[in-house]
């Protein structure tokens, strides 16, 4: 299984899936931050966006993901101030320019994004900003890999681990996967040869029956990871339970703001009444995210659900498995 949505895209884009022998099947995992964000969390972001005197700052694709009754994009059409930012630092700049309004960054992403969000909170604190807040929907990779293996829905023989998450975390957090589950891990870069090499290493591990964690992205990933970034995450954020689309609540698989940074926590200021979140009828993104079905097995794929008119997030996001299959292998 390739965990990361960018790996899914690269595997399809370079035709690697078709090059592999029939004995090797790649399954897409829950490694697309936009896709795994639950409908309830999207509804919460929309409700905050509709609060007067509020500006929502968010990363690109999320604005198009349908919630129960619309998307952030629709909220913007209805008058909400929703702005797409490239970086958390852009959200800080918006807060500085709009001192009378609350600026809320919808913080989605994995360990790669977490330290950048933490850095923005420290920056806001240094600048004495009182109108910058983060709705933390940050998620952690190794806990959800373990939850997926625990579920046992698929027989996974090896995991292609996300390269840029590992730049931050290093190799240690993957340790329990070979020891507890007997499944090998290979950290991979995103070039086609990077991925082929990592897949080769996983096959070797499987054949020799000695699973371990190997680093096949040595030019970017070190054993210990980026310790400065790890310390910054620890200082500002703490593990919490998180809601994943397709997997439900996974213990200690998310990050929320520590009490010392409560004044930057959107969850502490906004208490929107989001009680009943409903996923789009027929959408099987949850099953796709667990690798339980391939995108083509969803009845809506390519008919009712296309990148232009997406029903579920896996078709919206540039990292989503459905968008990747639609773009690169519709004929297959």
């Amino acid at each position: 299984m390739e965990f990361c949505g960018s790996h899914t895209h690269a595997l399809l884009r370079y035709g690697i899936r078709d090059l592999l022998p029939p004995t090797i099947t790649m399954k897409s995992g829950p490694g697309c931050p936009v896709c795994v964000t639950s409908t309830h969390d999207i509804d919460t972001a929309i409700a905050i966006a509709m609060t007067p005197q509020t500006i929502i700052a968010t990363y690109g694709d999320l604005v198009r993901v349908p919630g129960t009754g619309g998307s952030l994009e629709r909220a913007r059409a209805a008058g909400a101030d929703v702005r797409v930012v490239y970086s958390a630092l852009d959200a800080i700049a918006i807060a500085e320019k709009n001192p009378s309004r609350q600026v809320v960054l919808v913080g989605i992403g994995f360990e790669t994004t977490a330290p950048t969000v933490a850095a923005s909170i420290v920056t806001a604190s240094q600048k004495g900003l009182r109108n910058y807040r983060v709705l933390s929907l940050l998620k952690l990779t190794p806990p959800v890999m373990q939850a997926l293996l625990q579920l046992g829905e698929l027989r996974i023989d090896g995991i292609l681990c996300p390269g840029h998450v590992s730049v931050i975390t290093g190799l240690e957090p993957y340790g329990p996967i070979p020891t507890r589950f007997g499944v090998g891990c290979a950290v991979s870069g995103f070039e086609p040869l990077d991925m082929l090499r990592a897949i080769g290493l996983l096959v070797e591990q499987f054949e020799s029956g000695s699973p371990s964690v190997v680093n096949a992205y040595e030019r970017a990933v070190s054993v210990q990871g980026n310790t400065v970034a790890q310390q910054l995450i620890d200082r500002v954020l703490a593990p919490c339970n998180a809601e994943w689309r397709g997997l439900g609540c996974v213990p200690d698989s998310g990050l929320s703001l520590r009490p010392e940074y409560e004044m930057y926590d959107a969850a502490a200021l906004f208490h929107p009444d989001v009680t009943e979140s409903v996923e789009a009828a027929g959408c099987r993104c949850g099953d796709v995210l667990r690798g339980s079905i391939s995108p083509q097995e969803c009845p809506l794929f390519g008919t009712a659900c296309t990148p232009e008119y997406p029903v579920g997030p896996c078709m919206v996001s540039h990292e989503g498995a459905c968008a990747a299959h639609f773009t690169y292998s519709l004929t297959a």
Binding site: S87, L89, P115, V167, I168, G189, L193, R219, A220
Partner: protein, 87 residues
């Protein structure tokens, strides 16, 4: 064909998202990303120097690429390419 393969395996390819540090200013830096210049945050890589290649994620440098490791990976790639040529 052989030379074409070599050419596509240039050092640049290996850097994934290469951003070259042009100048530093406190917690920020000016970088070059394939000819485009941009200001980024360097809080996560305080040890970064002018001339380093960094990995860029949402406006922050998250890691510094190691040229010597990249060279080793390139060597492994060359080996892969040679095996496929023999076949």
């Amino acid at each position: 064909m052989r030379s074409f393969r070599r050419a596509t395996m240039s050092f640049d390819m290996c850097l994934a998202i290469p951003a070259l540090i042009l100048s530093l200013d406190g917690d920020n830096a000016e970088v070059d990303i394939g000819g485009v210049q941009r200001r980024i945050g360097t809080m996560l890589t305080p040890q970064v120097k002018v001339g380093d290649y960094v990995l860029l994620h949402t406006g922050f440098s998250i890691g510094i690429l190691k040229p010597e490791e990249a060279e080793q990976t390139l060597a492994a790639f060359r080996e892969l390419a040679e095996i496929s040529e023999i076949r």
